[in-house]
Symmetry: C2
Amino acid sequence: MKPGPQFSRNDLSSLALFEGLSASVLDEVIAVTRCRAMARDTRIFNQGDGHVRAHLLVEGSVRISQTGSDGGQIVVRFIGPGEMFGAVALFTDGKYPADADTLTDAIEFSWSEADLLKLMSAHSQIAINALKIVGKRIQEAQNRLRELSTQPVERRVAHTLLRLSRQAGRDTPDGVKIGFPLRRKDIADICGTTLFSVSRLLTTWEKAGWLATRDQHLTIAKISEIQRVGDNDRT
Amino acid sequence: MKPGPQFSRNDLSSLALFEGLSASVLDEVIAVTRCRAMARDTRIFNQGDGHVRAHLLVEGSVRISQTGSDGGQIVVRFIGPGEMFGAVALFTDGKYPADADTLTDAIEFSWSEADLLKLMSAHSQIAINALKIVGKRIQEAQNRLRELSTQPVERRVAHTLLRLSRQAGRDTPDGVKIGFPLRRKDIADICGTTLFSVSRLLTTWEKAGWLATRDQHLTIAKISEIQRVGDNDRT
DNA sequence: CGCGCCCTTGAGAGTAGTCAAGCTTTGTGG
DNA sequence: CCACAAAGCTTGACTACTCTCAAGGGCGCG
């Protein structure tokens, strides 16, 4: 293993990608794992970069975003501890399809394409696990596509908040706090709207006492109200 | 192998999913392959159905569409000969996430989840191939998400036509003919707009001599013009 | 011949985007 | 510790793209 904080088989065995592997296989994995710590606002990889690696976030949070040839930008997803990223590029065209930036200080594991391929060839369970993960991602993407095609901004923003709180929500006295630092622009870019529309909506909801923003962190006090907005048509 | 038209190892070996496999492994695959012929406008599977299978279209064309709880509908993709479908559901929640309908008479192969899992476990190459396929799909989905978020209808429709002609285009004296029977509604549902907007655009382009519709088949005479619309901003 | 399906076209309305200006918070250096 | 700069957020006015709804036309099939 390369330089970086210490870690053990336990750190890996609880991850979806390495589920169901024997101790000896986990050791093989560890042998080719690279561990890295990064400061906030670090670019982990660039859209178009070669020498792709599969990444796994151990601690912190990461934003995956994509910029089109026309300059249009979207947030593909936010990554929290225990989630994989940059792995879709593997085995396809050998280039990252998106940018990855840390939103906080962060620690990640990563594996080279070649090493992972070897591991997967030798232990099909890893490949099958990866397939499960990627399958879930596709379903998510399809749901977002439908949402984007058929629902008005208000409901998309509501759903986005619900999804984020499911992904990275922590209960606090004030409500469910989303574990990523989010700017209005981030929220806009993930639900396909503008900074302005998001601002107006959140302001409204904030005034209604349904949620609060504090140093780039959202806390949802009344999930049920947000849910109502997301499900019903007109308020 | 179950009833159905005859087929051989050659039919499988050229497919992405079974690339790089030995003859004996292909025989294993064939042993659990189910082959089915279907008439036009047949529902192959329903969103939410259990007992999922992986499907591979041998001949004909299929539309994969998704209907949300709100009734909103999108076309996830069209499937042409040689393409997999219904495979994303594998290993996730055990339910099809979308509907599949034949647009023409069609022939498909399919495999049960359990059989495929066995095959993949024993031959990791299959799992890795699957990973490649699914990875491509995710990238496509992400590109569509960006398009939908950032581009006006006109450009989305143009890009959709270009994508379809790349996927299923055949050269004819009149131009590139798209191999699926497409109603205006289908095009609308795949690029997130309405039947009306599509109709207006296609009528315009048709009048300009860039394309023609004949019994639900589109033929693009001037790809370059469509490309221009897709790339430039204002016409 | 007539019915059904699909497509076209027009008029009107509304959601959400653009742009501009000012405010608040955060972070930095004197 | 304060002050100022930069980044992020709010708000308003305006615009326009695209959807909705309605009516009618063409084509194929029974």
